[in-house]
Protein backbone atom coordinates (compact mmCIF):
# COMPACT_ATOMS: atom_id res chain seq x y z
CA UNK A 1 0.00 0.00 0.00
CA UNK A 2 2.96 2.32 -0.54
CA UNK A 3 1.07 4.39 -3.12
CA UNK A 4 -1.29 5.42 -0.35
CA UNK A 5 1.50 7.08 1.56
CA UNK A 6 3.08 9.03 -1.28
CA UNK A 7 1.67 12.51 -1.83
CA UNK A 8 -1.01 15.03 -0.94
CA UNK A 9 -3.30 13.49 -3.48
CA UNK A 10 -2.73 10.13 -1.85
CA UNK A 11 -3.56 11.68 1.54
CA UNK A 12 -6.87 12.80 0.08
CA UNK A 13 -7.48 9.33 -1.30
CA UNK A 14 -6.62 7.88 2.08
CA UNK A 15 -9.25 10.06 3.73
CA UNK A 16 -11.87 9.45 1.02
CA UNK A 17 -11.45 5.71 0.75
CA UNK A 18 -12.97 4.75 4.13
CA UNK A 19 -15.84 7.16 3.47
CA UNK A 20 -16.56 5.53 0.13
CA UNK A 21 -16.37 2.10 1.74
CA UNK A 22 -18.79 3.19 4.44
CA UNK A 23 -21.18 4.55 1.79
CA UNK A 24 -21.01 1.30 -0.14
CA UNK A 25 -21.61 -0.67 3.05
CA UNK A 26 -24.63 1.50 3.84
CA UNK A 27 -26.18 0.95 0.41
CA UNK A 28 -25.43 -2.75 0.40
CA UNK A 29 -26.75 -3.34 3.91
CA UNK A 30 -30.03 -1.58 3.21
CA UNK A 31 -30.52 -3.51 -0.03
CA UNK A 32 -29.35 -6.95 1.12
CA UNK A 33 -30.80 -6.99 4.64
CA UNK A 34 -34.09 -5.39 3.59
CA UNK A 35 -33.79 -2.75 6.30
CA UNK A 36 -36.96 -0.70 6.60
CA UNK A 37 -36.43 2.93 5.39
CA UNK A 38 -37.85 4.02 8.74
CA UNK A 39 -34.73 2.73 10.48
CA UNK A 40 -32.20 3.44 7.75
CA UNK A 41 -33.14 4.90 4.38
CA UNK A 42 -30.83 4.13 1.45
CA UNK A 43 -27.96 6.59 1.12
CA UNK A 44 -29.06 7.38 -2.45
CA UNK A 45 -32.34 8.66 -1.14
CA UNK A 46 -30.66 10.79 1.54
CA UNK A 47 -28.25 12.36 -0.95
CA UNK A 48 -31.13 12.85 -3.36
CA UNK A 49 -33.09 14.76 -0.73
CA UNK A 50 -30.05 16.94 -0.05
CA UNK A 51 -29.54 17.70 -3.75
CA UNK A 52 -33.21 18.53 -4.19
CA UNK A 53 -32.98 21.21 -1.51
CA UNK A 54 -29.31 22.05 -2.05
CA UNK A 55 -29.54 25.83 -1.36
CA UNK A 56 -31.28 25.19 1.97
CA UNK A 57 -28.66 22.65 3.03
CA UNK A 58 -25.89 24.94 1.92
CA UNK A 59 -27.31 27.78 3.98
CA UNK A 60 -27.78 25.55 7.04
CA UNK A 61 -24.22 24.28 6.63
CA UNK A 62 -22.75 27.78 6.46
CA UNK A 63 -24.84 29.13 9.35
CA UNK A 64 -23.94 26.29 11.70
CA UNK A 65 -20.32 26.36 10.57
CA UNK A 66 -20.18 30.08 11.35
CA UNK A 67 -21.67 29.62 14.84
CA UNK A 68 -19.39 26.71 15.67
CA UNK A 69 -16.25 28.41 14.33
CA UNK A 70 -16.83 31.67 16.21
CA UNK A 71 -17.41 29.76 19.47
CA UNK A 72 -14.48 27.48 18.75
CA UNK A 73 -12.04 30.33 18.11
CA UNK A 74 -13.21 32.22 21.18
CA UNK A 75 -12.89 29.05 23.26
CA UNK A 76 -9.40 28.38 21.91
CA UNK A 77 -8.21 31.92 22.59
CA UNK A 78 -9.71 32.14 26.07
CA UNK A 79 -8.48 28.62 26.88
CA UNK A 80 -4.89 29.37 25.87
CA UNK A 81 -4.93 32.77 27.57
CA UNK A 82 -6.33 31.26 30.79
CA UNK A 83 -3.68 28.56 30.76
CA UNK A 84 -0.96 31.21 30.41
CA UNK A 85 -2.47 33.30 33.19
CA UNK A 86 -2.82 30.26 35.46
CA UNK A 87 0.78 29.26 34.89
CA UNK A 88 1.96 32.81 35.42
CA UNK A 89 0.04 33.42 38.65
CA UNK A 90 -0.59 30.53 40.97
CA UNK A 91 -3.12 32.48 43.04
CA UNK A 92 -5.22 33.19 39.96
CA UNK A 93 -5.31 29.52 39.24
CA UNK A 94 -6.27 28.60 42.80
CA UNK A 95 -9.04 31.18 42.63
CA UNK A 96 -10.48 30.57 39.16
CA UNK A 97 -9.76 26.98 38.24
CA UNK A 98 -12.42 25.54 40.59
CA UNK A 99 -14.92 27.87 38.92
CA UNK A 100 -13.88 26.54 35.53
CA UNK A 101 -14.46 22.99 36.73
CA UNK A 102 -17.79 23.89 38.32
CA UNK A 103 -18.93 25.53 35.09
CA UNK A 104 -18.51 22.22 33.32
CA UNK A 105 -20.81 20.41 35.74
CA UNK A 106 -23.77 22.47 34.51
CA UNK A 107 -25.36 20.50 31.65
CA UNK A 108 -25.02 22.28 28.36
CA UNK A 109 -28.80 22.03 27.76
CA UNK A 110 -29.58 24.00 30.90
CA UNK A 111 -26.90 26.51 30.11
CA UNK A 112 -28.12 26.78 26.52
CA UNK A 113 -31.63 27.75 27.59
CA UNK A 114 -30.25 30.59 29.70
CA UNK A 115 -27.95 31.83 26.96
CA UNK A 116 -30.79 31.97 24.44
CA UNK A 117 -32.86 33.87 27.01
CA UNK A 118 -30.03 36.37 27.26
CA UNK A 119 -28.94 36.76 23.67
CA UNK A 120 -32.09 35.74 21.82
CA UNK A 121 -31.86 33.82 18.59
CA UNK A 122 -28.57 35.25 17.41
CA UNK A 123 -25.31 33.82 16.15
CA UNK A 124 -23.83 35.04 19.41
CA UNK A 125 -26.08 32.75 21.47
CA UNK A 126 -24.98 29.62 19.59
CA UNK A 127 -21.36 30.71 19.55
CA UNK A 128 -21.55 31.27 23.33
CA UNK A 129 -22.68 27.68 23.84
CA UNK A 130 -19.97 26.36 21.51
CA UNK A 131 -17.51 28.49 23.47
CA UNK A 132 -18.79 27.07 26.75
CA UNK A 133 -17.98 23.54 25.60
CA UNK A 134 -14.56 24.32 24.13
CA UNK A 135 -12.70 26.66 26.45
CA UNK A 136 -12.34 24.11 29.24
CA UNK A 137 -10.54 21.27 27.44
CA UNK A 138 -8.27 23.84 25.80
CA UNK A 139 -7.43 25.41 29.16
CA UNK A 140 -6.65 22.07 30.77
CA UNK A 141 -4.51 20.78 27.91
CA UNK A 142 -2.65 24.03 27.29
CA UNK A 143 -1.87 24.27 30.99
CA UNK A 144 -0.67 20.66 31.06
CA UNK A 145 1.52 21.39 28.03
CA UNK A 146 3.05 24.48 29.61
CA UNK A 147 3.65 22.74 32.93
CA UNK A 148 5.30 19.77 31.22
CA UNK A 149 8.19 21.95 30.00
CA UNK A 150 11.51 20.74 31.35
CA UNK A 151 12.55 23.19 34.11
CA UNK A 152 16.16 22.72 32.99
CA UNK A 153 15.13 24.15 29.65
CA UNK A 154 13.77 27.22 31.41
CA UNK A 155 16.96 27.46 33.48
CA UNK A 156 19.04 27.30 30.29
CA UNK A 157 17.14 30.17 28.72
CA UNK A 158 17.42 32.18 31.92
CA UNK A 159 21.16 31.60 31.93
CA UNK A 160 21.23 33.24 28.50
CA UNK A 161 19.59 36.24 30.12
CA UNK A 162 16.18 35.57 28.55
CA UNK A 163 13.26 37.75 29.60
CA UNK A 164 9.90 36.31 30.64
CA UNK A 165 8.62 37.23 27.23
CA UNK A 166 11.41 35.30 25.51
CA UNK A 167 10.69 32.28 27.66
CA UNK A 168 7.01 32.39 26.74
CA UNK A 169 7.46 32.85 23.03
CA UNK A 170 10.57 30.80 22.41
CA UNK A 171 9.89 27.95 24.82
CA UNK A 172 6.62 27.58 26.73
CA UNK A 173 4.09 28.23 23.98
CA UNK A 174 5.80 26.18 21.25
CA UNK A 175 6.31 23.34 23.76
CA UNK A 176 2.62 23.37 24.62
CA UNK A 177 1.48 23.36 20.98
CA UNK A 178 1.14 19.58 20.58
CA UNK A 179 -1.18 19.38 23.59
CA UNK A 180 -3.06 22.49 22.57
CA UNK A 181 -3.79 20.87 19.22
CA UNK A 182 -4.95 17.68 20.88
CA UNK A 183 -7.50 19.82 22.70
CA UNK A 184 -8.44 21.73 19.55
CA UNK A 185 -9.18 18.54 17.66
CA UNK A 186 -11.36 17.41 20.54
CA UNK A 187 -13.01 20.82 20.63
CA UNK A 188 -13.91 20.77 16.93
CA UNK A 189 -16.65 18.22 17.67
CA UNK A 190 -17.67 19.92 20.91
CA UNK A 191 -18.08 23.31 19.22
CA UNK A 192 -20.38 21.72 16.65
CA UNK A 193 -22.44 20.06 19.40
CA UNK A 194 -22.69 23.44 21.14
CA UNK A 195 -23.90 25.18 18.00
CA UNK A 196 -26.51 22.48 17.34
CA UNK A 197 -27.82 22.56 20.89
CA UNK A 198 -28.02 26.34 20.62
CA UNK A 199 -30.16 26.02 17.50
CA UNK A 200 -32.61 23.77 19.31
CA UNK A 201 -33.93 26.72 21.28
CA UNK A 202 -35.98 28.16 18.48
CA UNK A 203 -33.59 28.81 15.60
CA UNK A 204 -35.09 28.45 12.13
CA UNK A 205 -31.91 28.13 10.08
CA UNK A 206 -29.03 25.76 10.69
CA UNK A 207 -28.21 22.09 10.75
CA UNK A 208 -29.55 21.73 14.30
CA UNK A 209 -32.80 23.44 13.38
CA UNK A 210 -33.15 21.12 10.38
CA UNK A 211 -32.52 18.11 12.55
CA UNK A 212 -35.19 19.14 15.02
CA UNK A 213 -37.73 19.95 12.29
CA UNK A 214 -37.18 16.58 10.66
CA UNK A 215 -37.56 14.86 14.02
CA UNK A 216 -40.85 16.56 14.78
CA UNK A 217 -42.22 15.75 11.33
CA UNK A 218 -40.89 12.19 11.42
CA UNK A 219 -39.04 12.78 8.17
CA UNK A 220 -36.44 10.07 8.51
CA UNK A 221 -34.68 10.90 5.26
CA UNK A 222 -34.39 14.58 6.22
CA UNK A 223 -32.99 13.56 9.63
CA UNK A 224 -30.27 11.56 7.98
CA UNK A 225 -29.59 14.39 5.59
CA UNK A 226 -29.22 16.79 8.54
CA UNK A 227 -26.86 14.33 10.23
CA UNK A 228 -24.71 14.20 7.11
CA UNK A 229 -24.68 18.00 6.96
CA UNK A 230 -23.63 18.12 10.62
CA UNK A 231 -20.85 15.63 9.90
CA UNK A 232 -19.78 17.94 7.09
CA UNK A 233 -19.54 20.89 9.48
CA UNK A 234 -17.59 18.89 12.06
CA UNK A 235 -15.33 17.41 9.42
CA UNK A 236 -14.58 20.85 7.98
CA UNK A 237 -13.50 22.30 11.33
CA UNK A 238 -11.54 19.18 12.17
CA UNK A 239 -9.76 19.21 8.81
CA UNK A 240 -8.83 22.87 9.22
CA UNK A 241 -7.38 22.16 12.67
CA UNK A 242 -5.49 19.10 11.40
CA UNK A 243 -4.09 21.08 8.47
CA UNK A 244 -2.86 23.85 10.75
CA UNK A 245 -1.45 21.29 13.15
CA UNK A 246 0.50 19.62 10.37
CA UNK A 247 2.07 22.98 9.53
CA UNK A 248 2.78 24.18 13.06
CA UNK A 249 3.60 20.99 14.94
CA UNK A 250 5.67 19.30 12.26
CA UNK A 251 8.05 17.87 14.84
CA UNK A 252 5.37 16.06 16.81
CA UNK A 253 5.71 12.63 15.19
CA UNK A 254 9.39 12.62 15.90
CA UNK A 255 9.16 13.32 19.60
Amino acid sequence: MRWLRASGLAALARAALPLLLLAALWEAAVALLHISPFYLPPLRQVLGAMLALWPAYQEAFLVTLGEAVVGFLAGALVGIASACAFHHARWLRDMLFPLFVASQTVPVIAFGAIVVLWFGNTLLAKAAIAFYLTFFPVTVNALAGIEAVDPRQVALLRSFGASRRDIWWKLLLPSALPRIFTALRLSAGLALAGAIVGEWFGASIGVGAMLLAALFNEQVVAMWAAILAAAGVGGTIFAAVALLEGRLVFWRDEL
Binding site: A155, R158, S159, F160, K170, W251, E254
Partner: protein, 277 residues
Protein backbone atom coordinates in the same frame (compact mmCIF):
# COMPACT_ATOMS: atom_id res chain seq x y z
CA UNK B 1 29.17 36.99 4.62
CA UNK B 2 32.42 38.91 5.08
CA UNK B 3 30.86 40.38 8.17
CA UNK B 4 30.24 36.92 9.54
CA UNK B 5 33.73 35.83 8.57
CA UNK B 6 35.20 38.82 10.42
CA UNK B 7 33.26 37.99 13.50
CA UNK B 8 34.29 34.40 13.24
CA UNK B 9 37.87 35.59 12.99
CA UNK B 10 37.40 37.58 16.15
CA UNK B 11 35.96 34.53 17.84
CA UNK B 12 38.83 32.43 16.66
CA UNK B 13 41.56 34.91 17.52
CA UNK B 14 43.83 33.50 20.16
CA UNK B 15 44.46 36.25 22.66
CA UNK B 16 47.85 36.72 24.24
CA UNK B 17 49.01 33.76 26.23
CA UNK B 18 46.68 33.56 29.22
CA UNK B 19 48.04 35.82 31.92
CA UNK B 20 47.47 34.77 35.49
CA UNK B 21 44.43 37.06 35.65
CA UNK B 22 41.64 35.44 37.62
CA UNK B 23 38.42 35.06 35.69
CA UNK B 24 36.24 33.62 38.39
CA UNK B 25 36.80 33.58 42.10
CA UNK B 26 34.60 31.87 44.69
CA UNK B 27 35.32 32.70 48.32
CA UNK B 28 33.57 30.90 51.15
CA UNK B 29 30.51 30.11 49.04
CA UNK B 30 27.89 28.14 50.97
CA UNK B 31 24.35 27.14 50.26
CA UNK B 32 21.76 25.56 52.46
CA UNK B 33 18.38 24.14 51.40
CA UNK B 34 16.28 23.89 54.52
CA UNK B 35 18.04 21.38 56.75
CA UNK B 36 20.46 20.28 54.05
CA UNK B 37 23.81 21.98 53.77
CA UNK B 38 24.59 21.47 50.08
CA UNK B 39 27.76 23.55 49.89
CA UNK B 40 30.07 24.59 52.72
CA UNK B 41 32.67 27.28 52.18
CA UNK B 42 33.76 26.56 48.65
CA UNK B 43 36.93 28.40 47.61
CA UNK B 44 37.85 28.14 43.99
CA UNK B 45 39.67 30.37 41.56
CA UNK B 46 39.83 29.93 37.81
CA UNK B 47 42.40 31.80 35.73
CA UNK B 48 41.58 33.30 32.38
CA UNK B 49 41.87 30.75 29.59
CA UNK B 50 42.17 27.88 32.04
CA UNK B 51 40.40 24.55 31.59
CA UNK B 52 39.34 23.33 35.03
CA UNK B 53 37.60 19.99 35.49
CA UNK B 54 35.58 19.18 38.56
CA UNK B 55 34.80 15.72 39.89
CA UNK B 56 33.05 14.52 43.02
CA UNK B 57 30.70 11.85 44.33
CA UNK B 58 27.01 11.98 43.44
CA UNK B 59 25.03 14.36 45.58
CA UNK B 60 28.08 16.41 46.55
CA UNK B 61 26.50 19.68 45.51
CA UNK B 62 28.07 19.97 42.06
CA UNK B 63 24.79 21.06 40.54
CA UNK B 64 24.27 23.60 43.27
CA UNK B 65 27.73 24.99 42.62
CA UNK B 66 27.04 25.10 38.92
CA UNK B 67 23.74 26.84 39.34
CA UNK B 68 25.42 29.43 41.52
CA UNK B 69 28.16 30.03 38.96
CA UNK B 70 25.55 30.20 36.18
CA UNK B 71 23.71 32.82 38.19
CA UNK B 72 20.59 30.69 38.51
CA UNK B 73 20.91 30.35 42.26
CA UNK B 74 22.02 32.76 44.97
CA UNK B 75 24.78 31.75 47.35
CA UNK B 76 24.04 32.14 51.04
CA UNK B 77 25.16 35.46 52.54
CA UNK B 78 28.79 35.53 53.59
CA UNK B 79 30.23 34.03 50.45
CA UNK B 80 31.62 35.92 47.52
CA UNK B 81 31.40 35.25 43.80
CA UNK B 82 33.71 37.48 41.81
CA UNK B 83 33.81 37.70 38.05
CA UNK B 84 36.88 39.53 36.75
CA UNK B 85 37.58 40.57 40.31
CA UNK B 86 34.25 42.27 40.90
CA UNK B 87 31.11 40.95 42.56
CA UNK B 88 28.49 40.54 39.88
CA UNK B 89 25.20 38.93 39.11
CA UNK B 90 26.25 36.09 36.85
CA UNK B 91 22.96 35.54 35.08
CA UNK B 92 23.58 36.04 31.38
CA UNK B 93 27.34 36.39 31.86
CA UNK B 94 28.34 32.75 31.77
CA UNK B 95 27.86 30.39 28.84
CA UNK B 96 26.21 27.46 30.50
CA UNK B 97 25.75 24.04 28.96
CA UNK B 98 23.66 21.58 30.94
CA UNK B 99 23.97 17.79 30.94
CA UNK B 100 21.24 17.21 28.40
CA UNK B 101 21.47 18.99 25.09
CA UNK B 102 18.00 20.54 25.58
CA UNK B 103 17.68 21.30 21.89
CA UNK B 104 14.30 22.58 20.75
CA UNK B 105 12.64 20.09 18.37
CA UNK B 106 10.99 22.83 16.30
CA UNK B 107 14.30 24.56 15.52
CA UNK B 108 16.81 23.24 13.02
CA UNK B 109 20.52 23.01 13.79
CA UNK B 110 21.30 26.63 12.91
CA UNK B 111 18.32 28.03 14.78
CA UNK B 112 19.10 25.95 17.85
CA UNK B 113 22.69 27.12 17.76
CA UNK B 114 21.70 30.79 17.62
CA UNK B 115 19.13 30.56 20.43
CA UNK B 116 21.35 32.28 22.98
CA UNK B 117 22.54 34.87 20.49
CA UNK B 118 18.94 35.55 19.56
CA UNK B 119 17.92 36.01 23.19
CA UNK B 120 20.72 38.55 23.47
CA UNK B 121 19.10 40.53 20.70
CA UNK B 122 21.58 39.81 17.95
CA UNK B 123 19.82 39.97 14.55
CA UNK B 124 18.79 36.50 13.43
CA UNK B 125 20.32 36.75 9.99
CA UNK B 126 23.68 37.85 11.31
CA UNK B 127 23.65 35.10 13.95
CA UNK B 128 22.74 32.51 11.33
CA UNK B 129 25.61 33.60 9.09
CA UNK B 130 27.98 33.27 12.02
CA UNK B 131 26.60 29.84 12.91
CA UNK B 132 26.82 28.73 9.29
CA UNK B 133 30.49 29.70 9.26
CA UNK B 134 31.10 27.78 12.50
CA UNK B 135 29.23 24.63 11.44
CA UNK B 136 32.27 23.02 9.85
CA UNK B 137 34.33 23.43 13.04
CA UNK B 138 31.61 21.66 14.95
CA UNK B 139 31.31 18.81 12.46
CA UNK B 140 27.87 19.94 11.39
CA UNK B 141 28.53 21.04 7.83
CA UNK B 142 25.72 19.83 5.61
CA UNK B 143 23.42 19.37 8.59
CA UNK B 144 22.55 23.04 9.11
CA UNK B 145 18.91 22.53 8.19
CA UNK B 146 18.39 19.22 9.95
CA UNK B 147 16.20 18.98 13.00
CA UNK B 148 17.57 17.62 16.31
CA UNK B 149 15.57 14.40 16.08
CA UNK B 150 17.42 13.62 12.84
CA UNK B 151 20.85 13.81 14.51
CA UNK B 152 22.97 11.34 16.46
CA UNK B 153 23.69 11.90 20.15
CA UNK B 154 27.20 13.19 19.44
CA UNK B 155 25.94 15.65 16.85
CA UNK B 156 23.20 16.93 19.14
CA UNK B 157 25.81 17.54 21.79
CA UNK B 158 27.93 19.47 19.29
CA UNK B 159 24.94 21.63 18.39
CA UNK B 160 24.49 22.37 22.09
CA UNK B 161 28.19 23.21 22.35
CA UNK B 162 27.97 25.47 19.34
CA UNK B 163 25.05 27.24 20.98
CA UNK B 164 27.23 27.68 24.07
CA UNK B 165 30.14 29.02 22.01
CA UNK B 166 27.87 31.40 20.11
CA UNK B 167 26.77 32.81 23.43
CA UNK B 168 29.99 34.72 23.39
CA UNK B 169 31.13 34.69 27.04
CA UNK B 170 34.62 34.35 28.44
CA UNK B 171 33.56 31.78 31.00
CA UNK B 172 31.99 28.51 29.88
CA UNK B 173 30.33 26.14 32.25
CA UNK B 174 29.93 22.59 30.92
CA UNK B 175 27.95 20.14 33.04
CA UNK B 176 28.87 16.59 32.01
CA UNK B 177 28.31 17.35 28.36
CA UNK B 178 29.46 13.92 27.22
CA UNK B 179 27.88 11.90 30.02
CA UNK B 180 25.19 10.35 27.83
CA UNK B 181 27.47 9.39 24.93
CA UNK B 182 28.97 5.98 24.25
CA UNK B 183 32.66 5.55 25.07
CA UNK B 184 33.97 5.87 21.50
CA UNK B 185 31.95 8.95 20.67
CA UNK B 186 32.92 10.44 24.00
CA UNK B 187 36.66 9.96 23.37
CA UNK B 188 36.28 11.60 19.99
CA UNK B 189 34.32 14.49 21.43
CA UNK B 190 36.94 15.05 24.13
CA UNK B 191 39.70 15.45 21.58
CA UNK B 192 37.49 17.61 19.46
CA UNK B 193 36.64 19.84 22.43
CA UNK B 194 40.32 20.32 23.25
CA UNK B 195 40.95 21.29 19.66
CA UNK B 196 38.09 23.80 19.67
CA UNK B 197 39.15 25.15 23.05
CA UNK B 198 42.72 25.70 21.91
CA UNK B 199 41.42 27.77 19.00
CA UNK B 200 38.59 29.70 20.63
CA UNK B 201 40.36 30.19 23.97
CA UNK B 202 37.67 30.34 26.58
CA UNK B 203 37.86 29.77 30.28
CA UNK B 204 36.12 26.47 30.97
CA UNK B 205 34.75 24.88 34.11
CA UNK B 206 33.86 21.31 33.17
CA UNK B 207 31.99 18.95 35.47
CA UNK B 208 32.34 15.19 35.01
CA UNK B 209 32.01 11.83 36.73
CA UNK B 210 34.80 10.37 34.69
CA UNK B 211 38.30 10.68 36.18
CA UNK B 212 40.02 9.87 32.87
CA UNK B 213 38.05 12.62 31.22
CA UNK B 214 38.89 15.05 34.00
CA UNK B 215 42.63 14.43 33.67
CA UNK B 216 42.66 14.22 29.89
CA UNK B 217 40.94 17.57 29.45
CA UNK B 218 41.96 19.69 32.41
CA UNK B 219 44.76 22.08 33.24
CA UNK B 220 43.66 21.42 36.77
CA UNK B 221 41.37 18.85 38.37
CA UNK B 222 39.31 19.86 41.36
CA UNK B 223 37.86 17.14 43.59
CA UNK B 224 34.81 17.94 45.65
CA UNK B 225 34.12 16.37 49.01
CA UNK B 226 30.97 14.50 49.99
CA UNK B 227 28.09 16.66 51.20
CA UNK B 228 28.32 19.32 52.40
CA UNK B 229 30.38 19.96 49.28
CA UNK B 230 33.65 21.79 49.48
CA UNK B 231 36.91 21.58 47.62
CA UNK B 232 38.83 18.56 48.87
CA UNK B 233 41.75 18.57 46.50
CA UNK B 234 43.17 20.52 43.60
CA UNK B 235 45.67 18.87 41.31
CA UNK B 236 47.50 20.67 38.52
CA UNK B 237 47.76 18.49 35.42
CA UNK B 238 51.05 19.34 33.77
CA UNK B 239 50.75 16.79 31.00
CA UNK B 240 51.85 18.31 27.69
CA UNK B 241 49.36 19.68 25.19
CA UNK B 242 48.11 18.97 22.61
CA UNK B 243 47.01 15.74 24.21
CA UNK B 244 46.23 12.58 22.33
CA UNK B 245 44.67 9.30 23.42
CA UNK B 246 48.06 7.62 23.87
CA UNK B 247 48.39 9.79 26.96
CA UNK B 248 45.74 7.71 28.72
CA UNK B 249 48.14 4.78 29.11
CA UNK B 250 51.29 6.61 30.18
CA UNK B 251 52.72 6.11 33.70
CA UNK B 252 52.45 9.84 34.40
CA UNK B 253 48.73 9.75 33.63
CA UNK B 254 48.21 6.67 35.76
CA UNK B 255 50.05 8.17 38.70
CA UNK B 256 47.74 11.18 38.67
CA UNK B 257 44.73 8.93 38.23
CA UNK B 258 45.74 6.81 41.24
CA UNK B 259 46.02 9.90 43.40
CA UNK B 260 42.66 11.29 42.30
CA UNK B 261 40.91 7.93 42.52
CA UNK B 262 41.95 7.63 46.15
CA UNK B 263 40.50 11.02 46.95
CA UNK B 264 37.24 10.44 45.06
CA UNK B 265 36.76 6.98 46.52
CA UNK B 266 37.23 8.22 50.03
CA UNK B 267 34.51 10.78 49.46
CA UNK B 268 32.22 8.30 47.70
CA UNK B 269 32.50 5.97 50.70
CA UNK B 270 31.46 8.80 52.99
CA UNK B 271 28.43 9.48 50.82
CA UNK B 272 27.66 5.77 50.74
CA UNK B 273 27.95 5.42 54.50
CA UNK B 274 25.63 8.36 55.07
CA UNK B 275 23.08 6.68 52.82
CA UNK B 276 22.92 9.54 50.38
CA UNK B 277 24.16 7.68 47.33
Amino acid sequence: MTNAADQLDQLLTVGEAPAARTKLQLRGVSRRFGAVQALAKVDLGIAEGEFVTLIGPSGCGKSTLFNIVAGLLEADPGGEVLLDGAPASLLGKVAFMPQRDLLLPWRNVLDNAILAAEVEGRPKREARELARAMAADFGLKGFENHYPQQLSGGMRQRVALMRTFLFDRDLMLLDEPFGALDALTRAMMQRWLLDIWSRYRRTILFITHDIDEAIFLGDRVVVMSARPGSIKLERRIDLPRPRDPALLTTPAFNAIKRELLDAVEEESMKTFASGAA
